[in-house]
Symmetry: C2
Subunit: 229 residues, 2 copies
């Protein structure tokens, strides 16, 4: 019930963001829309979690983060990417509208890096590893077109101690073997004392201190054949 | 007038996104908010530009892109960063809320890369160069806290032919010389025939074919002492 409502609002706001970015209505209509948005904001703001409090719908044990900016169904900034486990890695299908534009007609280069950071981290998690991003490298070979079906892939290539390396690509769904963008990520699990220090302020929805042991930003992965949550 | 209305709507939707991500109201209230958002979307959607049409407020000659996902005042996904020219490079102040969260309490690593791609490109432009991102590298030294004043900097370090290299950092505003994230970008201006091919579908607000000569995604830079547009 709560998850359905969060998902519905996330989808409605995603559509609203797209409409705002593409709208060519008169300034008076834009101003009226802004007033309407402020009314909704006021109603949603009557009860809020502080910045270090997890959502009641988050489950760090299963890596579910409903407001993640790449995969979170409740976050209007997210496509959202549904990342699934497949073969020896992870894969996601996506298509991006004008809100993600960099050069005219193409996805912003930084958006590609945002997506790949998430996907590379998910590949580490799919391999039973975890870590925070220590290094991220991207090679941009061709621009990534807007409003076009894309396929994003990543898989683990190295693991040693607290360090995991994953690589991945963004390609047209029609030409999945010709990468437009190639990426490499190095993920490092901080030492337990550092993890404890980084996350000591985190509390759960009831206000209890709740520092995560594996504080990845990845969301739950769908296993092959599993339906979306 | 149009710019003021676009800016007002962008700001109102940015607040709405933040409120949605932090709200702990009942599911029924979330569903009502979604219905309200859909009404606004319907009104904004009565007149829309297609994906290859620039906004009437965009000015590629002065690099103004009002819906850029990092700097665009009209884009709810954008902070928005106000990038200004300073000393030998560019600088921006920022602070990020829960919508940009990766690990609990910290900015998503991919968001840092999104920001730095924009800033590194702006540094190339500030030096009188331009290009599309060819390579992006980020070293993450410490997590970047949410809801904390940050300072982002970038400057050009190499230029040769069609290639420009810039480097930059993200740091706490209180400790600007201790980078949390260090970044390096390589920007390459495509050959004129390739540029023409990439952007041949771009039309201006009146529908005229309008392929940009320098199709950067950077927005106008503020010169020292200049007020925001």
């Amino acid at each position: 019930m709560a998850m359905a409502a969060v998902t519905e609002l996330g989808a409605a706001l995603r559509d609203l963001v797209d409409a705002a970015v593409r709208s060519t209505v008169d300034p008076a209509e834009l101003t009226a829309a802004a007033a309407g948005a402020r009314e909704i904001t006021a109603r949603l703001s009557t009860s809020q979690r502080p910045v270090h409090q997890l959502s009641a719908l988050d489950d760090l044990a299963s890596f579910r983060r409903v407001y993640n900016p790449v995969t979170g169904v409740g976050n209007p900034l997210a496509a959202p990417l549904a990342i699934r486990q497949e073969d020896d890695g992870v894969v996601a299908d996506a298509s991006f509208g004008s809100a993600y534009e960099g050069p005219p007609g193409y996805v912003h280069g930084g958006v590609s890096s945002l997506l790949m950071d998430q996907l590379l981290g998910a590949a580490a998690k799919a391999a039973g590893r975890w870590g925070m991003t220590a290094r991220l490298e991207l090679d941009y070979r061709r621009p990534v077109p807007l409003a076009t079906p894309l396929v994003l892939r990543a898989r683990m290539t190295e693991e040693a101690g607290r360090r995991t390396v994953t690589t991945g690509t963004i390609a047209l769904a029609d030409a999945p073997d010709q990468p437009l963008v190639a990426a490499r990520g190095v993920f490092v699990a901080p030492r337990p004392d550092r993890t404890a220090s980084y996350f000591r302020a985190v509390v759960d929805a009831s206000g209890r201190q709740s520092p995560p042991v594996h504080p990845t930003d990845a969301t739950a992965l769908r296993r092959p054949g599993q339906e979306p949550a």
